[in-house]
C-alpha cells in the first residue's frame, strides 16, 4: 500500500466509511500494535491501547486533512501519544523500567532501515553529531516513551541534569535539522 492509498483510506474514514476503516485497520494494525507493545511493554495493555488508538482514528480522521505529516507518521503519532499518555498515567512497577531497558535497541533492523529509506538520513545524520549516549537517550525516549524520570534513573544522573542534558541535545538537533 502506498502512502497515497493510506491517505485515501484516512479521508474515507473521516466521512465514516466503515469498509475503508476495516481496510485501514488491516493495513496498519501491525505497525501501531508494534508501537503500543514497545511503549507499554505489556501485551494485554497494548491490546487495549490499540483499540483506543483506532477509536481515535475513527473519530479524528478528519484532522488528518489539516496535518502535514505523512499518513503513516500521522497514525504512528496517534498511537505513540496514546501509549505514552497511558504509561504516564499509570504507576509503573520498577521491573518494567528494567525490562524496557533490556529490550532497548537504538539501531533499527535492516528491514526497518530499508523502509525508512532516504528520509531517515537527516535525523540519523543529526543524531550522529550528538554524543553517543545522548543520541541513544533521544532514540530510547522516542521508541519506548521513557520519561525524564526513567532516563535519569537509567543514566544514573539527577532528574534536572537529565532534563538540561536532553534539552541541549534537542536544540542541537534542531540546529542540525535546519542546516
Amino acid at each position: 500500500m502506498t502512502p497515497q492509498d493510506i491517505t485515501k483510506l484516512i479521508v474515507r474514514v473521516s466521512v465514516k466509511d466503515r469498509a475503508a476503516f476495516d481496510l485501514l485497520y488491516r493495513q496498519t494494525n501491525a505497525k501501531l500494535f508494534g508501537v503500543c507493545l514497545r511503549v507499554l511493554n505489556d501485551r494485554a495493555e497494548a491490546e487495549e491501547a490499540l483499540q483506543e488508538v483506532f477509536v481515535k482514528i475513527w473519530t479524528k480522521a478528519d484532522r488528518f486533512a489539516v496535518s502535514e505529516l505523512s499518513p503513516i507518521s500521522w497514525l504512528v503519532a496517534i498511537a505513540r501519544n496514546h501509549a505514552i499518555d497511558r504509561i504516564r498515567a499509570r504507576r509503573r512497577p520498577a521491573a518494567d523500567i528494567d525490562a524496557a531497558a533490556d529490550v532497548a535497541d537504538p539501531a533499527p533492523g535492516p528491514e526497518a532501515m530499508a523502509v525508512a529509506g532516504g528520509e531517515s538520513e537527516q535525523i540519523d545524520r543529526c543524531l550522529d553529531e550528538l554524543e553517543q549516549d545522548r543520541a541513544a537517550a533521544v532514540r530510547g525516549a522516542y521508541l519506548m516513551g521513557e520519561s525524564y524520570a526513567d532516563l535519569a534513573e537509567r543514566h544514573g544522573v539527577p532528574l534536572n541534569t537529565m532534563r538540561t542534558w536532553l534539552r541541549r541535545s534537542l536544540m542541537k538537533l534542531r540546529e542540525c535539522l535546519e542546516r
Binding site: A20, L37, R38, Q51, A65, E146, S147, Y148, L170
Partner: protein
Amino acid sequence: MSAVDENGPEHGGDDAVAAEYVLGVLPAEERAAAARRVETDPAFARLVERWEADLSPLASGYAEVEAPAAVKAALDRRLFSNAGAADVAPASSGLLSSLTFWRGLAIAALAALALVVALPLLNPPASLPEARLVASLAPQDSDVHYMVVYDARTHDVGLSHVTGERTDGRDFELWVIDGQQAPLSLGVIPAGASVHLAVDDALRRHIASGAVFAISLEPAGGSPTGQPTGPVVAAGDLKTI
C-alpha cells in the same frame, strides 16, 4: 530551578517544550498541559508538528506485530455495536442497564426528533413515505448538528440547522458516501435554519438507506478539490422512515 527558568529562551523555549512533548519525556501534568496547548495555540501546534515530522523516521525502529483477531472484534463492538436494533428485542431483566438498549433508544429518539424538527421541510406532505430518508448529522468533535430529510420523489435534501456555526469566511459542504466510494458533494449548505439542496440525476442513485451524509468545513464556496479538504464536523447514516 523553576518551570519558567527551564522553559526560558536560553533553553529553547517553546520549541524545546514541543520537542519534549513529541519525544514523550514530560511528566504527566506537563504533558497534559502541552497537549492542551496543541489544541489552543496554533504556533505551538506547528512546532509540535514539525518535531513530529522530523523525528518520525525513528519510528522505523518499531517492529510490526499483527494484533490478535480478538482486538478487531472488540474494537468493532466498541464502535459499531449500536448497528443492530434487533439486539434490543430479547428483553431481559438486564434490559434497562443494557448499553445496547440505551443506544437503540437514543437512535429511536433521534429518528423521532429528526421527524419533528424536519416536519416543516416535508412539503408537499403527500410524498410517498418509503421515498423518504432521514439522518441526524451528529457533531464530530464540533457542535455542528443538522437534521436531514431526503425526499426521493422531489429529489430534494432538506436540512434543518440544530446547532453550530460556520467559522468566519468558511462554508459547510454536504457529502454523500455510498459504500466504499469516494465522497460526492451535494453542494455548499446555504445559511439558514431550514434550507434545501436540489440533487441532480447523477447523485440520486447514491442516496439510499445505509449511505452516510457528512458535513465538512470548507473554504468559502466549497472544496476546491472536489473532495473534502477540511474537518468533518457532523455525520450520520441515512435511515428509511
